[in-house]
Symmetry: C2
């Protein structure tokens, strides 16, 4: 129980607390817009601060509860993951990729600034993520920290998030099978969500191999669950609610869980994934409370 009062907070309070401390930690981690190159730093801050659900930081802190990790170490890993997530959004929104103009209710970075700046913002945010997890300890042993950075890189790179993006681009207009769609999402959004769970847990007391394998599976399931819910929301919500352009996947002829399965079966699938995750977290007892609550929140979310 790293947070002395975490037992007293309800889930909503806990979530607001983590979101607020993540915002603070990101604010401190990002270079000031007063430091040269000022416009680049201003744009990096624009891309990261003041928005987003902070799902990955929430997962890091929830998983850290399982191993009694210090909140300051979790903040560091959470910031790195959020920087990488933000970099991927900035690049994905660029004209040569998804060509989107709205993100988190604001103009995208290349619209607010320019394309060259957006390119550099994404590049520099990725670098800052790797710098940030070397600036101070995130666990007790430097060798373990090296392993965590390696896992972060694998989740981010061509066989993780960036690779998923490449598969996504290549699949526009194609008929994918459910297995192919899952393969894409396990990489594109799943890898970083999965890493949020496993890296958060590694900030605290070491777990056994079997427990880490269970958490890795739970992280994978949460990643897919998140995507299924995203696809349902993209079909049903409007742009104002989402803070990003709604109905874009259908407009772009991109395969989704909804286009493949229909809304009703997609909802059932999400429920099955949720139950799977909850069942696997049960043996962790009270230490798994936040991660269970967060998984429930993800399936119930309306944004």
């Amino acid at each position: 129980m790293n947070n002395s009062n975490s037992g007293q907070m309800n889930f909503g309070q806990w979530m607001a607390d983590i979101q607020a401390r993540t915002e603070d930690a990101l604010d401190r981690a990002l270079p000031s817009a007063a430091i040269a190159p000022a416009r680049l730093h201003e744009a990096m801050r624009y891309a990261v601060l003041g928005g987003g659900k902070r799902v990955r930081p929430l997962l890091v802190h929830a998983a850290g509860q399982l191993t009694g990790a210090a909140p300051e170490r979790l903040d560091r890993v959470a910031c790195a993951l959020e920087m990488i997530h933000a970099y991927s959004l900035v690049h994905d929104d660029m004209p040569c990729m998804d060509d989107d103009v709205l993100r988190r209710g604001k103009p995208t970075v290349h619209v607010q600034f320019d394309e060259a700046t957006a390119l550099l913002v994404g590049d520099a945010l990725q670098t800052l993520a790797f710098q940030h997890v070397t600036d101070a300890p995130v666990c007790d042993a430097p060798a373990r920290q090296l392993g965590m950075i390696r896992q972060l890189a694998i989740a981010t790179g061509s066989r993780g998030m960036a690779g998923g993006q490449a598969i996504d681009l290549a699949s526009v207009g194609l008929q994918l099978s459910l297995a192919e769609l899952e393969f894409m999402h396990i990489h594109k959004t799943g890898a970083l969500i999965r890493a949020s769970v496993t890296l958060g847990a590694q900030c605290g007391q070491p777990l056994g191999d079997a427990e880490m394998e269970t958490l890795d599976h739970v992280g994978k399931v949460i990643g897919l669950l998140f995507q299924v819910v995203d696809d349902i929301l993209d079909t049903e919500a409007d742009t104002a609610t989402l803070g990003k352009t709604a109905g874009k996947d259908a407009a772009n002829d991109k395969p989704t869980y909804v286009s493949l399965l229909g809304v009703s079966r997609a909802r059932e699938l999400a429920e099955e994934m949720y139950q799977d995750a909850i069942a696997r977290l049960a043996p962790f007892g009270d230490a798994g409370q936040r991660l269970s609550e967060l998984t429930r929140f993800i399936i119930r979310r309306q944004f």
Copy 2:
């Protein structure tokens, strides 16, 4: 003396040897084009393999001679630096940046593949660089390795190479002072060259603070020297010799050492930098031989 036969090789043989082993090491470090996502991996290999002077790997190995570093460790750091250099070239060549079609005598990545792939290639190469320096030891202590990764990130990010690129973009069409031009280059190309020297040295036996400071200064001077020579070559050489579009800086109204000082004074400046570096390397004796030779090669180069 890490290379048992390095004393017997002349500089040209040594350089060819390092270039060949770097190509091998990069070939092994990059994912096979047979692994999904195949097109992304094919494009990553296209961007990195079969070209380039490998200046940063040469500097890593030359600096490693100063501390008796194991060649395999130097290969690892050299590959990481070359991946970051390659990522920056791929992104710099994109239409929203320098919009160039030729690099190392071949079509640039966005021309050969497409813009979205070029964006992802750069992103994934940066990630792979950070993964690569966590895959195995590059020095004797994990804590020191963390510090080296941190230095690599600082050299690469918004206060290093990416920041220099932002300053460069902002300076097109402006009259820069010599100090401002130097500030830009210390970041844009200088940071990574400087890191090549200091990181290479850190792969071997630890040096004292004063020696590391000397090497850091030498790395900074070599970085600027490299740029001055680049500006002279850009004015005088033709496209076929350079393997990239010649005369581009003048065409783009970009400030250079030549536009600011004229060719004659730029040549004098390069000579002064060269003499400064050589003088500071003298106390290292024979262990500094390769780095001295390499610095001489950089000022004499015609490519």
